[in-house]
């Protein structure tokens, strides 16, 4: 029975693939599409440059990710404070997540990337790298904060009560009881955000840095050919597909643990 279903699955997959491979080239515009999107010559000429430009994406990602994690955690904690005197913090957390989740990333990058340096900051403090990073960190930490908050809220109130009974302070309860469980619960969700961040790093190109998306655009313009974008897409996929699979694996493992 199991063998049979595997055979059927393999057969139908093969049929679909064959249909695509055979039918797409029959389209009247295929030759033109192939020439401007899948041009081997242009690909060979531009791919090394694209790989080189991708290093900048990796670097931006590498310094954004920890900053996002930290700020996201801080905002999530702001939203969880219970002391009445600290209500302004709670309010700040709510407003912050509302605003930065509600704005398109590209808009924040434009406003912060050109706006703040325009105030007259001296070099190197007006660098688009700095303010572009700030924009990404502000936006993504709002998402991460919401994910972490849902993790914190998923921890049953009895845990908190038990910790208080044991004599832990509110701070220690959060640090040693709630957060370790909460963060573990939301790792897969956060992985998804970081995969999204890997792609959104390319938006920094709008304010100047020549990362892979911009480099592909330059090649596109010089060759009047879209193949460099396909090259860039392949490079992104080479990173994001393994990352997505890893997130899936984490999610599965978590589901199995719960059941």
């Amino acid at each position: 029975m199991r063998q049979r279903s595997i055979r059927i699955a393999a057969g139908s997959t093969l049929a679909v693939l064959l249909a695509i491979i055979l039918l797409v080239p029959l389209a009247p515009g295929w030759a033109a599409v192939k020439r401007s999107f899948f041009n081997a010559e242009v690909f060979a000429q531009t791919f090394p440059g694209l790989l080189n430009a991708f290093l900048l994406d990796v670097m931006i990602f590498a310094w954004c990710a920890p900053a996002i994690a930290l700020l996201g955690l801080a905002i999530a904690l702001c939203r969880d404070v219970r002391a009445p005197a600290l209500f302004p913090l709670r309010l700040f957390g709510a407003v912050y997540t509302d605003v930065f989740r509600g704005l398109p990333v590209i808009l924040v990058i434009y406003l912060i990337g050109f706006g703040i340096p325009g105030l007259g900051l001296p070099r190197p403090w007006n660098s688009p790298y700095i303010w572009g990073t700030v924009a990404l960190v502000l936006t993504y930490s709002a998402y991460v904060a919401e994910v972490l908050r849902s993790g914190i809220e998923s921890i049953h109130a009895s845990q908190r009560n038990a910790a208080i009974c044991l004599g832990l302070s509110e701070r220690d309860t959060m640090r040693f009881v709630i957060l370790p469980q909460a963060i573990r619960n939301v790792v897969p969700a956060n992985m998804n955000l970081f995969i999204a961040l890997q792609k959104d790093v390319a938006l920094l190109s709008f304010i100047g840095p020549v990362e892979i998306f911009r480099q592909a655009g330059v090649y596109k313009s010089l060759f009047a050919n879209f193949t460099p974008y396909v090259g860039a897409a392949l490079i992104f996929l080479a990173i994001t597909i393994p990352a997505t699979r890893y997130a899936d694996y984490l999610m599965n493992r978590q589901r199995q643990r719960r059941t």
Binding site: G29, G118, R123, S127, P209, G217, K220, S221
Partner: protein, 274 residues
């Protein structure tokens, strides 16, 4: 009085129709729509190429050239329609929505493999746009002196390879999606200088960038690959020979030079970069 001007109009119209009939043979049946020439420009179309983003007014260098070419090809003014495209739309595979596209496309060998270009209608010098405060810091119009500046350019232009060839800046240039973003970065002091074609640089310095200066130019005859603008057409366009014939005629008769003199200011005063 009114009837008189009507009569004048009628005479003018019939004259231009007669004129058109003489030339119209070449383009016949080769345009998207019979008897209509569809020309594409940018969205928005920039000064001084098109004034007030209104090519129909025939004001601005490219708008004027477009109507002159149309006339030579046998299309009267009212037979010309305008559409707007981005650069990417102009080079995408598949059917085009224009007969030719005119927005300062530089003719290059690589691009020519994917699309057709007409003969050049303008050869542009490249120019360095910067601000007075950068000039005051003491730079000289030499490639050597300007290497240390932070450079910017419009990523979709041939200014990018030109910048690397002629100036070879020490730090990687910053690239932007359009003129507006380049000038925004200059205003935010994120870049010191940017490379544009000369007419665009003169306009940006005079109108857009506060304290803007066109600091130096690289004349077309000095560059290895001079920046020549051509009309962009679909690869293998049947219209190319008619367009080329019209441009040759305009060039030989001196009409093209006259249009250039009318709409593009002379850049005397801008020093040549050594």
């Amino acid at each position: 009085m009114r009837s008189l001007s009507f009569a004048a109009c009628a005479i003018a119209l019939s004259a231009s129709a007669a004129h058109a009939a003489g030339h119209g043979a070449c383009a016949e049946g080769k345009t998207l729509e019979d008897g209509v020439l569809t020309i594409a420009t940018g969205n928005p179309a920039y000064y001084p190429w098109v004034l007030n983003d209104a090519p129909e007014s025939k004001e601005g260098f490219e708008a004027a050239v477009a109507y002159a070419i149309a006339e030579k090809m046998g299309f009267a003014e009212d037979q010309v329609t305008w559409v707007r495209t981005s650069f990417d739309e102009a080079i995408q595979p598949g059917a085009k929505n224009f007969d030719f596209n005119m927005q300062q496309y530089s003719i290059t060998e690589e691009r020519e493999q994917m699309v057709d270009f007409s003969l050049p209608y303008y050869t542009s010098a490249m120019a360095v746009l910067t601000t007075q405060s950068v000039v005051d810091k003491g730079i000289a119009p030499t490639a050597e002196s300007m290497k240390g500046l932070i450079w910017g350019a419009d990523a979709n232009t041939t200014a990018v390879p030109m910048l690397n060839e002629m100036i070879a800046p020490e730090s990687d240039p910053l690239l932007y999606g359009d003129n507006t973003d380049v000038t925004a970065a200059m205003q935010a002091n994120q870049i010191d200088a940017a490379l544009f074609d000369l007419p665009t640089a003169l306009y940006l310095a005079a109108v857009v960038v506060e304290g803007g200066v066109v600091f130096g130019q690289i004349p077309a005859d000095r560059a290895e690959n001079p920046d020549q603008f051509g009309l962009l057409m679909e690869d293998g366009s049947a219209l190319k020979e008619c367009v080329d014939a019209a441009i040759t005629e305009l060039t030989d008769s001196g009409e093209l030079a006259a249009i250039e003199a009318q709409w593009l200011q002379e850049a005397t005063g801008v020093p040549v970069i050594e």
